[in-house]
Amino acid sequence: MLNRIADMGRYGVQVIESLGSATLLFANSLMWGGPGSAGFADLVRQIFSVGVRSLSIIAVAGFFVGMVLGLQGYTILVDFGSEAALGTLVSLTLLRELGPVVTALLFAGRAGSALTAEIGLMKATEQLSAMEMMGVDPLKRVITPRLWAGIISMPILALIFSTVGIWGGAFVAVDMLGIDDGAYWGNMQAAVEFYNDVAKGIFKSFVFGWVVTWIAVYQGYASIPTSEGIGKATTQTVVVSSLAVLGLDFVLTAVMFGGV
């Protein structure tokens, strides 16, 4: 019993410790440099590997999610005779929730895990140490451009996800279910507000991008430099950042869309 309590205490201390060192890592890599501080070319290269490489999975997923929303929303709304509100349902669901959240989860699996593995491997092969010995701060060289790339890419990906999703919904609603084109778009336009729905959704995805990338680079940077350690860190990235995204989503929704 006493042992269990001691274990829990030790675990708690470990969690707080890693939170502290993650914060230090974040502060050290962002405070001393904006997006271009390690060279603009580096940032572009990272946006490529973090953002562009995630584009296809995001677009395909967005299209299917939008189509499913269209189908499911229709079967529910048609019972109340309000299938004209389908556009509203699809767009608000995507903009406020599914766009940012699903994109962040996919992003964690696709880009986050790759970031962790890459940085962990750089650590294991002493590339980070070599950089340090050359007088180059790996935080600035390696971590900063990746962090910024994640923060920049995520809102773009989420926007693309939602856009593709809304058009996917329109495809199902208008072309397959025969809902009036004007009703789908007209009701949507009447209900969706740029600031309240679109901008808040972008803000959400911005926060998620920041959190997922931060967790990913920290897990890589703090990983035990063996194949086992890197594997564990990669899993950890996906698990921790997914939970963080879902938890934060609740908080952000409560604060921004009220109701609590």
Binding site: V44, V52, S82, T163, A190, V192, E193, F194, D197
Partner: protein, 152 residues
């Protein structure tokens, strides 16, 4: 992967983001540049809103011509006041226009429905709509029905 290809595809990525944003603004949220300036505000007093929300539609003959911007309780009369923005294009609403709180479908959202009056003078910014009809509240209807049945 050549350097040029990387730069080019990141450029394309950014452009796609912009396009998505523009689509969101114009096509999805129906934002138009001259939105705010083109409305005027009228007010109406209701005994019971029955679940009307801010941002609800204001329509006439089924066409949306504005939206509810503000709802508050008048603490002198203890009645609800609804402020709504009407598009400038609908500037010829007569003074005796009436407003009712209606429901879209059986269980749909509440909205404000306006019906035309007969007077020559038009509503101006800040005017009150005098002739109003509150929301139908299901409980009240049932209560009234039972009451009249009992009297028979």
């Amino acid at each position: 992967m050549g350097k040029r290809t990387v730069e080019f595809s990141v450029g394309v990525f950014m452009v796609l983001g912009m396009i998505a944003l523009v689509l969101m603004a114009l096509r999805v949220s129906g934002l138009s540049m001259d939105d705010a300036a083109d409305t005027y505000t009228v007010r109406a007093r209701f005994d019971n809103l029955g679940g009307l929300n801010e941002r609800a539609k204001v329509s006439m003959a089924g066409v949306t011509i504005g939206r509810v911007t503000k709802i508050y309780l008048d603490d002198k009369w203890y009645s609800a006041v609804v402020e709504m923005e009407i598009n400038k294009s609908m500037s010829t609403l007569s003074k005796d226009t009436s407003a009712a709180i209606l429901t879209a479908g059986l269980l749909g959202e509440k909205y404000v429905g306006l019906s035309v009056g007969a007077e020559e003078e038009y509503l101006k910014d800040g005017d009150w709509i005098e002739d109003t009809q509150s929301a139908l509240v299901l409980e009240e209807l049932i209560g009234r029905f039972l009451f009249s049945k009992a009297k028979e």
